[in-house]
Amino acid sequence: MELNKKPLRIRELTAMIFMIIGLKGGDTTPALFADHAQNAIWIVPIISFLFLLGPFLILMHLLKKYKNYNLIELIFHLIGKKAGTLLALLLFTCGFIAMFTDMRNVMEEINYLYFPNSPTLVIYVIFLTICILVANKGLETIGSLAWALLPVIIVTIIAVIFVDLKEAVLVRIFPLFGGGVGTVLFEGISKSAAFLEIFLITIAYQSFHQTKYFHSGIYLGGSLSFMLIVSFYAVYAMLFDYNSINNIAFLYQEATEIVALGHFFTNISTLFMVGWMFSNFLRFIIFLYLICWIFGAIFEIKRFEGLLLPIGFIAMILSLIPPSFVVNEMFFRERSLQIMTPIFFLFPFLLWVASYWKDRKK
């Protein structure tokens, strides 16, 4: 018996969005940006944000207009079954690639920093098993779980910013545009697909108590994540300075490594690992679930939870192909993001045109 149907509300969605987007402040994305943009990494997400804002608002507008559809149903409704399947598969593939490249990076981080003696595969299997087990419980559990663990993660974030600001030097923000205005602009635009999850989560449009909660939640979660990412990147820039920031692979861990809490606690980075690890678990639980959901929606598989294991397994195998972290991050991820960006930038416009066309035909 279920007393309340569709119990998820704004806070769960906000927490989920915060987990999958906001936590890009703590993974390897800043290292990707820092490679060219140097200490202007905090401007890069602003540019990406402004770049993606248009298509995103169009997508939200379309979802609001056709009330009863989620992302895939909307695509099918607007551009037909065949073309729709093609586009949806394209989105799925992008999401899938983004997921497994990210996952490999996170695994390498855990492996390299906390368990240097154990093979990546073992950590990967443990991590993925837990993700699949939790994701199997469905969206309501995932949403509630994200909200329930949010306090731990927020405390971690506040603590990190607090201790890092003690070491930070404000003038290290300069030169303001790091590697140059053109580079920063190019970086921000070409790699804006790093934040593609915000489009994918619209698959859950129908799963909240009211659809207006989805709107509030996604705007709230999105802006909070944006603020978090920008402030984290700014802190990194203030900590590591021009010309040395691009040599650091794991900015979050490095930022927690170099600070001490008084004279007694001299090495507190593992303390910040708790919130970081929780958020990474949650991030990939949500991401994996969304990917399976999209796949299930395309091929009309009702109980798509069964796909978690095969899709997760294939993601693991594929992501282990790049020989090392550096190749994965600097070559594979960078290229794939550059290819994905136009897709995610253009498809809302495509839908918009289709919607416009449909209206005119009437």
């Binding site: 018996m1 279920e2 007393l3 309340n4 119990p7 998820l8 509300r9 806070r11 769960e12 855990i110 906390y114 368990f115 154990s118 073992v122 950590i123 443990i126 991590f127 837990i130 087990l133 939790v134 419980k137 469905g138 309501e140 559990t141 995932i142 949403g143 509630s144 779980l145 909200w147 329930a148 663990l149 007694f264 606690f265 001299t266 090495n267 507190i268 980075s269 593992t270 303390l271 690992m273 708790v274 690890m277 929780f278 678990f281 949650l282």
Partner: protein, 493 residues
């Protein structure tokens, strides 16, 4: 069920259901004496009365009725009456009622009635003058408070209902009886406020009670396990409380209380995880004091769940986290200890569980021994024999002590068993597997529900509610009843 497995009810049961009371007194007496094995059944009395107006026959269990009332209000008037008037006008008891068939007679006899037969009448009369023996209303033993009422439930249904009526003097307090189809049939009483309770929840509870067919459910402790959706789960989905004031609070929020004869406690359903961490005293104390005590308890829960596991994970896998002075202190204290840390911790934890289990079972004259043995052997001698390091003793004592801070006994076992799960998880892959285990644990907690109510609400999924989770609000500011129950009246003020 397969056709050849059909249930066969015993013939005697089928027979008595159909038997009507006969006009012949002799037949009735013979039937009942046979059914009740009169003569062998030592407290079953079958007593003939020859009054001046006719012959009567009384049946009763002498051990469960009030003999004084029997003599004064039944036997004496029946013998002394001079005119042939109907029995209800002779027997001056308010509880007198007429019965038509033997099924009702049997029910009455077990409930403490005296059955009066009269020659030539095809009906009998039952007078309820029961006097079941039970404990007096005493102080609560397991849920102690400093500030607050000191009454607890006792093992008698009428007494418990009377306490409820005293708590909530309102016509909307309904005590509804449902019979469990067990052997013997037992009544279960649902206590709820009619103008608050959610009908869907109530129907669900009733449906589940009616579904039970097992025999021998004589108290709510057993009933609880038949009602629960997940009997094997670590988390109880009903609150077990012996405090009437606590139960009364829940009823006035829209919950349902389940009581039975023979139980000195009641069950509250549906329930969320927060209720297990709340003590009624939190509300009786002032806002700051109550919340302070909740904070202390919350810390205690976290310590009891995670301190041993964290110690295992950090010392085994993440020793770089420990400040260097502390690391040296730990290392030097472990210098002569041959056992691995996990084994050391498990040894002490198991020993602690042994002391606790023995402490409950030990006869009270021997009680002090266990303290001495436990403290000496586990504390002092084990350290001196280099079996365990002193720091492990501290950690295990801390986690054991903290588990006693649990406000409710039902959650106590949850915490204790979960702690072992976390220790095992931590020993496998350090913080990675420990955090994974915590994640799975929390995911399980947020995914389950109790009678349709999410276990983690009102935190998530959220609703209008008194916001009574980790901390409580100032009572004046509590505007809503718990919205997750969907009560008929949401507004509290």
């Amino acid at each position: 069920m397969f056709p050849w497995q059909k249930k066969k009810k015993t013939e005697a049961v089928a027979k008595q259901k159909n038997t009507k009371i006969s006009r012949s007194l002799k037949e009735n007496v013979a039937y009942l004496e046979e059914q009740y094995l009169y003569g062998t059944n030592f407290d079953f009395n079958s007593k003939e009365l020859r009054g001046s107006t006719g012959r009567y026959h009384l049946f009763y269990y002498s051990t469960i009725i009030d003999t004084k009332q029997l003599n004064e209000h039944i036997v004496t008037p029946l013998l002394e009456t001079k005119r042939d008037i109907p029995v209800p006008r002779i027997v001056t008891l308010s509880s007198l009622s007429s019965v038509k068939n033997m099924d009702e007679v049997e029910k009455g006899l077990s409930a403490g009635c005296v059955i009066i037969f009269k020659e030539g009448m095809s009906e009998a009369f039952e007078a309820k003058i029961d006097d079941f023996k039970h404990r007096a209303v005493e102080k609560p033993e397991n849920e102690k408070t400093v500030k607050g009422p000191k009454e607890s439930f006792t093992e008698s249904l009428p007494v418990n209902i009377s306490i409820f009526r005293k708590q909530i003097p309102s016509k909307d307090l309904i005590v509804e009886n449902i019979s469990i189809d067990s052997r013997p049939t037992m009544p279960v009483s649902l206590v709820y406020a009619r103008d608050l309770v959610n009908e869907e929840i109530l129907e669900n509870i009733k449906k589940r009670i009616k579904k039970i067919t097992a025999s021998n459910i004589r108290n709510i402790e057993i009933l609880e396990q038949f009602l629960e959706e997940r009997p094997a789960s670590l988390f109880p989905t009903m609150l077990y409380t012996e405090r009437p004031d606590n139960a009364g609070n829940y009823i006035m929020e829209g919950y349902v209380a389940i009581i039975m004869e023979n139980s000195s406690s009641c069950l509250i359903a549906p329930i969320t995880i927060w209720s297990f961490f709340h003590s009624p005293e939190d509300r009786y104390l002032r806002w700051a004091f109550g919340n302070f005590s909740r904070l202390v308890r919350a810390i205690a829960y976290f310590i009891t769940l995670f301190v041993s596991a964290t110690y295992v994970a950090i010392t085994n896998y993440h020793s770089q986290l420990i400040p260097i002075d502390l690391l040296l202190a730990i290392a030097s204290s472990r210098e002569r200890v041959p056992l691995p840390i996990v084994f050391e911790i498990l040894l002490m934890e198991v020993a602690f569980e042994l002391i606790r289990e023995a402490g409950i079972r030990i006869p009270s004259p021997l009680g002090p021994t266990i303290g001495i043995v436990g403290a000496l052997i586990l504390g002092q001698a084990a350290v001196e024999a280099n079996i365990v390091s002193p720091i492990v003793v501290i950690i295990v004592a801390l986690s054991g002590l903290s588990s006693f801070a649990a406000a409710n006994y039902s959650i106590n076992h949850t915490l204790r068993i979960s702690r072992f799960l976390f220790i095992f998880a931590a020993s496998m892959y350090g913080l990675l597997s420990l955090l994974g285990a915590i994640l799975l644990w929390v995911a399980y907690v947020v995914s389950i529900n109790s009678f349709g109510v999410s276990y983690f609400s009102p935190a998530t999924p959220s609703n209008r509610s008194p916001r009574d989770t980790f901390f409580r609000m100032i009572l004046k500011k509590e505007k809503w009843r718990p919205g997750f129950l969907n009560p008929k009246d949401w507004d509290k003020q």
